[in-house]
Symmetry: C2
Subunit: 348 residues, 2 copies
């Protein structure tokens, strides 16, 4: 038997701050693109189409971390009616030298933080530096983290527009509450960070005109469970950057596949992106070939490939989510928990 540490939602919320998670996720991308990490095949299962599904992402981080493990995330769309969260994630981390389990972590907040960071890293490396208008498509759980992280990495954003494809009222409600939530959940972990506080003190506006808002946006992030395009090609202005978060299973799609035809495209993992990401449909329809993907985001971070080439081009970051993000974030939070003596130790 071995002693393992259990970290629940409350503890993880106490320990994680957005700036360090962004750094950790950048590091995860670097590990991936420097052969310091193995990604295992992703497992997806649909319990009932449009109602419930789950996936298991797993992998091995070599080098100093030397851990392996997995995250199982389920989505049960009717959970909210029962008073449970719709998305539930659980992470298991094991020692890469012995296979001994090290920790079990609740994955909801961690997934939000690392997915927000992932989306923001795409924006950081691909959006125009002078971007002022940010359109968030989707007003669910993930939208909050995308906004929190994206505003952190940029300096000139003046307005965030929020569009929800299902219900405008959700976007209105979201905008109404977001400043308090940013204060409570994000800024409270970055005390005395006046620069960040200023970045968050901007306009959040709900929109029900996706065409008009797309035309205004310098940056668009999509985080919905959509199976059909929400953004048409003709609406997107020159120089826009799009970060696509929602598509993580075969058939899911958030933006018009034709946007891909002339865009500069980066992904987190090429194989995953063409099988389950936003890149799947344009490749399957023959609009682009696998070879048209400019590279993986880790290659831009490492400087082995250039990101945006001109102010006019449209850039896309297709983020499908990779196990390394979870594992390295888990390793980070486990270290913090040990330092601060938090978490529950049990014999397994």
């Amino acid at each position: 038997m071995s002693k393992i540490i259990i970290l629940n939602e409350e503890t993880i919320k106490k320990l994680l701050d957005i700036k360090s998670v962004i750094k950790v996720v950048e590091q995860a991308y670097i590990l991936k693109n420097s052969n310091q990490a193995d990604l295992f095949p992703i497992i997806t299962h649909i319990f009932e189409p449009g109602k419930a599904d789950m996936d298991i992402k797993s992998g091995h981080l070599k080098g100093d971390a030397n851990i392996f493990g997995l995250k199982l995330v389920s989505w049960f769309g009717e959970n909210s009616k029962k008073g449970f969260p719709e998305v539930i994630g659980t992470i298991m981390v094991f020692d890469g030298k012995t296979g001994i389990p090290l920790g079990i972590l609740s994955g909801e907040h961690m997934t939000g933080m690392r997915t927000g960071s992932a989306g923001a890293i795409g924006v950081k490396y691909l959006a125009r530096k002078d971007s002022e208008n940010f359109l968030m498509v989707g007003a669910g759980h993930q939208a909050f983290f995308q906004i929190a992280a994206t505003l952190t990495v940029l300096n000139q954003i003046k307005k965030v527009m929020v569009y929800d494809p299902i219900d405008y009222k959700l976007a209105v409600d979201f905008c109404h509450k977001i400043k308090a939530k940013l204060n409570e959940e994000i800024l409270s972990k970055c005390k005395d960070d006046e620069i960040l506080a200023k970045k968050y003190d901007i306009d959040f506006v709900a929109t029900d005109d996706i065409e008009k808002s797309t035309g205004e946006a310098d940056i668009i992030t999509t985080a919905t469970p959509s199976y059909k395009p929400l953004i048409k090609k003709g609406w997107v202005k020159k120089g826009t950057h799009l970060t696509c978060i929602g598509a993580d299973m075969e058939g899911k799609q958030e933006i018009d596949e034709n946007i891909f035809s002339k865009a500069r495209i980066f992904v987190d993992d090429l194989e995953q992106a063409i099988h389950v990401g936003e890149t799947e449909i344009p490749v399957k329809k023959g609009i682009i070939k696998k070879e048209d993907v400019a590279g993986e985001i880790g290659e831009i971070i490492m400087g082995t490939k250039p990101g945006r080439l001109s102010d006019d081009e449209i850039t896309i970051f297709d983020s499908t989510g990779i196990a390394h993000q979870d594992l390295l974030t888990a390793a980070h939070v486990l270290k913090l928990a040990q330092e601060k003596g938090l978490g529950t130790i049990v014999e397994l």
Copy 2:
């Protein structure tokens, strides 16, 4: 956050008895072959060939159980030098209606019990009822559970021969200790079961002559990490049953592929067997075709396919291990733990 139950090795050893695990594993095979269970693709990863690997088996049991989950099992060959177990398993079980995690269970003892039961079920349904001599190939951790379960399902076994392909002394030592271990770990959970006690009170003999022992055996069970055949075709007498446990990754092999040419072959899962089981090599070498596999073991248990057709034929059960065994055994032990108030409850 939700309350989950953690069951460690000690608690699981207290709760599981071999007879109920055999019943549970039979039930798991029935669920599989009556479309009451989905098996997800198995993930395997080799950290270092011959030194360390791991796999993740996952699936969904529908019906009354309605749970899904996974088992991650690692093998680190040098762990024993460090004082750790070589094989470590961890099981996670989730509610199939909400995705909420229900329990986390240590997997070593459970895996031993369910794998022993799986092997024994092959013997129960395929070996001749008058079988008297049982040859166990491999004298490792798993051999104990194979013997414990196999003797449970048979009535006339007089002698168990134990052969270890690496070191004869291991087999000698194994035979020296097995009766005490059967008493302590198995019979103690089936108190007052005089029939079982009698079944265990037979001869256990180490052998270093695999050819001769194979010729004597009515039943042969192999449980080694071998990558080359240990049993030649010419050695196997008419009417023998072979249960093959060890092969669970591409390239692993325990018995001569030519034994398959005229045998009646059953597997636990056809796709898994031809990709990672003992059936892989004979299919790859063209000795048999996928269609030559007579069926899955669940089909014999359900009575939809006949097992052994004559006393003369050689039968094979290729057991690769399926997630349903783990999930249903986990559900069983979770229920027992709740009834007896055992286990540690934590907030996740």
